[in-house]
């Protein structure tokens, strides 16, 4: 059964494990570029892989010579671990700074969005008020000191029209009453005319009697002289009565003529064909009904965008409340930061323990391997600004920093800065 050599003891003390006596090193380091821990060990003629050491390509990149003993291999691996810890430490610090930037970006963006959405709410409110005022203006007639709805306007017109019709009716009734009164007057006038005729007839007989009396008085001679004078006076009186009767007849005839003329005038007043009024009323009613219908349709069409505006206003308000995700994001970022800090502290403690146990010196300067790792990390960073901060945060050597910075600048065009 093959034996696998371990780099560290299971208790993590850092002590090297005891190897079997027949263990011997291989002649070369693996060429497999994908395997970081690929130092080959041959036991009982069988080649095995030894986990826990860094990649052979990294060793090649560092240009180091091949370790000859297991102790040297493990020592090199521990040295790599300490270098990696330095990279971890700088990375944690840089990432911590990035988390700050992200948190501030989220906060500022959230504030800006909140301001914009508040502005949207205000605009939606203004729009809603404007639409409401349009609906009100369309359905209300402003007379200055009072406002009437179209329904009230129509009711008022209806009332005015009805009152006009009622006045016509009352006028017609009054005219017909006068007509009947004049008819009665005509009857009375006709009676007067009849009586005048009777007076004239009586006067005619009186005049005839006076004439006969005059004749008889003349025959009587001197004895009838006085009676003849009376007969003459009676005849004169009869003439006056006849003249008066003629005057009365002419007056009554004038009254009769006036009554007939008044009758005709009353006929023109009372006899009004109201078909025109009927047509006018029907047309006005039709126009008013159409006006109300159009206004209702207009109000309904306006009410729809008004309701949409109100709905938009509510939805935006709810959306603003959803901006509380910023607090949640901040908490999660704090959680990530805390976890990274714990990892950094654990890594530091383990590195210190490794250095103290194995007697390694503290890594002061960047090794070539560290620079390769850092460059690898920076190369994979897609955002130009972030890459620059990584370069600054990692504190590379001056020349290589420039090299990476130049590379960052040349790659900026490919950055994805916008979401």
């Amino acid at each position: 059964m093959p034996i696998v050599a371990e780099t560290l003891s299971q208790d993590g003390s850092g002590d090297l494990a005891v190897l079997p006596e027949d263990w011997k090193e291989s002649e070369s380091v693996t060429d497999d570029p994908n395997t970081l821990d690929a130092t080959k060990t041959e036991v009982d003629g069988e080649t095995i892989k030894e986990p826990g050491t860094d990649g052979a390509d990294a060793l090649d990149a560092a240009g180091e010579t091949e370790p000859q003993t297991r102790e040297e291999i493990l020592g090199a691996a521990l040295q790599r671990w300490l270098e990696m810890h330095c990279v971890f430490d700088r990375s944690f610090s840089t990432l911590d700074h990035e988390i700050d930037i992200v948190a501030k970006l989220v906060e500022s963006s959230t504030d800006e969005l909140s301001i914009l959405f508040h502005s949207l709410v205000v605009n939606a409110q203004d729009q809603s008020k404007s639409l409401d005022s349009i609906v009100e203006a369309a359905s209300v007639v402003d007379l200055g000191d009072e406002k009437l709805t179209l329904t009230e306007v129509i009711a008022y017109l209806e009332q005015v029209f009805s009152e006009g019709i009622l006045n016509v009716l009352h006028l017609a009734q009054t005219a017909m009453t006068l007509v009947y009164a004049l008819d009665d007057v005509v009857v009375d006038v006709n009676e007067v005319v009849k009586h005048i005729g009777e007076i004239e007839q009586i006067n005619k007989q009186t005049n005839l009697l006076a004439l006969n009396a005059k004749i008889e008085a003349t025959r009587a001679g001197e004895a009838g002289k006085g009676f003849g004078v009376v007969a003459d006076e009676v005849r004169e009186l009869s003439k006056d009565i006849n003249q008066l009767a003629g005057t009365l007849r002419s007056r009554v005839d004038a009254v009769h003529t006036g009554i007939e003329q008044g009758h005709e005038q009353l006929q023109s007043i009372a006899s009004l064909d109201m078909s025109g009024n009927l047509k006018a009323k029907n047309r006005i009613e039709g126009m008013m009904t159409a006006l109300v219908s159009q206004n209702d349709a207009f109000s309904e069409k306006i009410a729809f965008p008004a309701s949409l505006s109100n709905k938009l206003q509510l939805e935006i308000s709810e959306l603003i409340q959803q901006f509380q995700f910023q607090d949640k994001t901040q908490q999660q970022l704090d959680g990530v930061r805390t976890t990274m800090k714990v990892l950094d502290e654990l890594s530091f403690d383990l590195a210190e323990e490794t250095r103290n146990s194995a007697g390694f010196a503290k890594v002061e300067d960047d090794t070539e391997m560290m620079e390769v790792w850092l460059a690898s990390m920076i190369d994979r960073c897609q955002l130009g600004e972030m890459r620059k901060r990584f370069v600054q945060g990692m504190v590379l050597k001056h020349d290589e920093e420039e090299e990476v910075a130049d590379k960052s600048s040349s790659d900026d065009d490919d950055d994805i800065e916008l979401f």
Binding site: I165, A175, A270
Partner: protein, 99 residues
């Protein structure tokens, strides 16, 4: 205009035929005199056979209402059609007569 009075107890119905215009005022007054001579509580003007009524005709109806109020009987109309019905609706004469 012709008219026919159908008397049934205290109710009377005047059935009109033809147009009711100003020229019929004498006949209408005679009608009022005829109604005055009978003792009724209610009189209905049947306008089924009336084709035309002008404002003078409506005025005569109102004079009839005055006479009814004075004599203590009620008046109403029925059977109006076409133009006559429209005129009654326009003038709300039914309400006036009933009121």
């Amino acid at each position: 205009m012709d008219y026919r009075i159908e008397n049934s107890g205290k109710d009377a119905c005047v059935v009109f035929t033809g147009d009711i215009t100003f020229s019929e005022n004498v006949s209408f007054r005679q009608l009022l005199r005829d109604i005055e001579e009978i003792d009724i509580d209610k009189c209905v003007f049947d306008l089924t056979n009336v084709d035309m009524v002008d404002s003078a005709g409506l005025g005569m109806f109102l004079i009839a209402r005055e006479q009814a109020e004075t004599a203590g009987w009620r008046i109403s109309v029925k059977g109006a059609q076409g133009h006559v019905a429209s005129m009654l609706k326009l003038t709300k004469l039914s309400d006036l007569l009933d009121g």
